[in-house]
């Protein structure tokens, strides 16, 4: 087919695609001027982009095992970087991150450091070696390095638990965005989101997911950066916001002092009827909270997110698709570069968004204004009706104080362009970007789970004699089952987006980090050690989560290690169990040791064959 030629023509193809997308934005802007309604523009943006992804998914269909599992191992470095960035940046990153910074300031920004620094662990400890190994999935490595079905099975369990926790949040996000953009109920939006996700992955597996993720990255990065640059220039804050918002950050500090940072009592919130999940600003934007405990809370969150990053299978498996070990390393660097473009922009968006609401010199400001005036503003009315913003006049003075203005985190990304008075076409673009971010991550996760179950559980453990056709049918059937299960749970609205996302990192780090790393770096690590590590780490982490989790036993966290940080308990238990049991059992046989030696050098054939 077009395969060889397709790879050579990638820059041209995606260049045309980007150009086409920009033309589409311009056409929509013209249509808006001509009188097209906001609702139609929203539908056009989401429908048009999802159709393009579905088309790419269909064009990338395949009947070959290595194309299905690892995209034929021919994804060029830079493109794999873009695909990983889309795979990585979830609905939470896109929609909730700027909102988190808006409310949490510096304290929340531990997530930024944690969600980027983990890539150093990926590159220096794992990715190149797993690429040399030639595995299709992460449990494939554990199962072959340590040998035996029990180790493989444990890895499948950890992978499924971590990825599934993550995927429900993503399907939830696609549902939220689809329901808002298309004007349908959330429960229906979830299933529309799921169908879009499956369209991208079902026919072509990893190959299809790779090429749709590149397309999704392009959409999401344009959708995130364009409004920030536009707003910064419109308000005269500076041509290049990332380098020029120093004064604005300082100004926020002054305004915080002027308005006062007040933490509302829970009883007040309840009696005023503030809807759940809506918050007011009570933490400084750039100020560092005092004391060792605050520093430890920052650092412990960074540890969990970094180590979790390096253990998440849907990220690791992206590096199985590069043409070489060398390319895998370069590709990690490119991935982080593309992630950096969005992450370094989130604090700038939060800064702009806050200033627009708080600075009395700006026409858009609402804090310190009379409440009846504020309530007559169009966007305030729209978002109040959607229960996304709320005003409670606690002191009854008729003036909106900082602690009387409540918002849901996602509003920062979704409504800021509207607040700034940008045309609606930008809001439509942002919806398409959020959809792309949530879909691309959900695709990677659903595929990671389905591949582990079809390759490791079905083919390697249950039916090793299955032929290629049967394996791929099972893989696709599992994709549908897992997606549907995720959508079903998401439609029940159990967890908030961010709580669940952090848990996925903690689960992955508790069960998988040390078995993976020591599999490469410690020849003495044995099968029994790895099994003990995975079971003990996961059990300890989960037990602690149940102990402190606010929705479970809600006990007082030990040393500030709360439910977002339970990996701090799980991972060390995993390490100790793994080392102790490894040293107590007989050292791995000669063949295994030779395999580890071979794994450590880039040249030569992969350890597992091209088709296995």
């Amino acid at each position: 087919m077009i395969k060889g030629k397709f790879i050579d023509n990638l820059p041209k193809i995606y260049g045309l695609y980007t150009g086409g997308f920009l033309i589409f934005i311009i056409l929509m802007a013209i249509a808006e001027q001509a009188g097209m309604t906001a609702k139609t523009i929203g539908i056009m943006f989401v429908a048009f982009t999802v159709l393009i992804y579905a088309l790419i998914g269909w064009l990338s269909r395949t009947v070959q095992v290595d194309a299905y599992y690892v995209a034929g191992r021919q994804v060029p470095t830079v493109f794999n970087g873009m695909a990983t960035a889309a795979d990585w940046m979830s609905g939470a990153s896109f929609v909730a991150m700027a909102g988190g910074i808006y409310f949490g300031g510096y304290t929340y920004m531990a997530f930024l450091v944690g969600w980027t620094g983990g890539y150093i662990l990926v590159s220096s400890l794992l990715a190149p070696y797993l690429r040399k190994f030639g595995c299709y999935t992460v449990p494939d490595f554990i199962g072959t390095r340590y040998g035996g079905n029990v180790a493989r099975f444990c890895a499948v369990v950890v992978l499924t638990l971590a990825s599934f926790t993550y995927v429900t949040a993503q399907i939830n996000a696609t549902g939220t965005i689809a329901s808002r953009a298309l004007g349908i109920p959330f429960e229906l939006g979830v299933w529309v989101g799921l169908i879009s996700i499956l369209l991208c992955s079902m026919l072509g597996g990893m190959r299809a997911v790779t090429w749709t993720q590149v397309a999704q990255y392009i959409v999401l990065i344009i959708a995130y950066l364009l409004p920030i640059f536009w707003m910064s220039n419109k308000n005269g804050f500076g041509f290049f916001p990332h380098l020029m918002l120093g004064d604005e950050v300082a100004r926020l500090g002054e305004l915080e002092a002027q308005f006062g940072l007040v933490k509302n009592a829970a009883a007040d919130l309840k009696s005023a009827g503030v809807p759940g999940g809506l918050k007011s600003i009570s933490l400084p934007h750039s100020g560092v909270p005092a004391g060792g405990m605050a520093a430890w809370k920052f650092i412990s969150l960074v540890i969990c997110m970094m180590v979790g990053t390096a253990s998440l299978p849907h990220i690791l498996m992206r590096y199985f698709t590069t043409p070489s070990v060398k390319a895998a390393r370069k590709s990690v660097a490119w991935s982080l570069f593309f992630i950096f473009l969005l992450y370094s922009s989130a604090p700038m968006l939060a800064t702009l968004s806050k200033l627009q609401l708080m600075d009395p010199n700006l026409a858009t400001s609402i804090i310190g204004k009379s409440i009846s005036d504020v309530q007559s503003i169009q966007w305030v009315q729209d978002w109040s009706a959607a229960k996304q913003v709320f005003i409670a006049d606690f002191n009854g003075d008729g003036i909106l104080q900082l602690n009387e203005w409540f918002m849901r985190g996602g509003v920062v990304v979704l409504a800021t362009p509207e607040v700034a008075g940008l045309p609606y076409v930008i809001s439509g673009l942002v919806a398409a970007g959020g959809m792309a971010a949530a879909m691309s991550t959900a695709d990677g996760l659903v595929l990671a789970i389905a591949n582990a179950l079809s390759h490791d559980l079905y083919f390697k453990i249950i039916d090793p004699k299955a032929d290629v056709q049967k394996r791929l049918i099972v893989a696709r059937a599992l994709l549908i089952v897992i997606g549907a299960a995720g959508a079903y749970i998401a439609s029940m609205r159990i967890t908030s987006i961010l709580g669940a996302v952090a848990w996925a990192f903690d689960f992955a780090m508790s069960g998988l980090f040390f078995p993976l790393v020591l599999g490469v770096w410690w020849k003495r690590a044995t099968r029994e050690g790895a099994i003990a590590g995975m079971i003990a780490g996961l059990a300890a982490g989960t037990a602690y989560l149940i102990y402190v989790g606010p929705k479970f036993m809600a006990m007082t966290p030990w040393l500030g290690i709360d439910h977002l940080r339970f990996g701090i308990i799980g991972a060390p238990v995993c390490l100790v169990a793994m080392v102790v049991v490894s040293l107590m059992t007989k050292e791995p046989d000669k063949a295994t040791q030779a395999m580890v030696d071979e794994l450590r050098i880039p040249s030569g054939k992969t350890i597992l064959g091209k088709q296995h």
């Binding site: 450091v113 150093i120 750039s286 520093a295 540890i303 370094s344 040249s603």
Partner: protein, 85 residues
């Protein structure tokens, strides 16, 4: 010591060096966030800047540097992949 062992020793050295830089930008500076914030860079308080952009940018640079260094090590010991592997 065999060629493979020497290669691994150098690789491990690079890994430790990389992780030291990672530790510096990811953890060490944030242990002193409070005092760091009294300094400023580009007009931003320094601790704020580091977790908004500085450390993130450092990680990107470290990754490209690491990839090049490791390639050099592989070349030195003759473990570079041939095109048709």
């Amino acid at each position: 010591m065999s060629n493979k062992e020497k290669h691994w020793e150098k690789t491990r050295g690079l890994m430790i060096l990389t992780l030291s830089l990672w530790f510096f930008f990811g953890y060490l500076i944030f242990m002193f966030g409070e005092s760091l914030n009294s300094a400023s860079f580009l007009g931003y308080p320094l601790a704020y800047y580091m977790c908004a952009q500085g450390s993130l940018l450092a990680f990107v640079v470290i990754l490209f540097w690491f990839a090049n260094k490791q390639e050099k090590i592989d070349e030195e010991f003759g473990f570079t992949e041939s095109e048709d592997d």
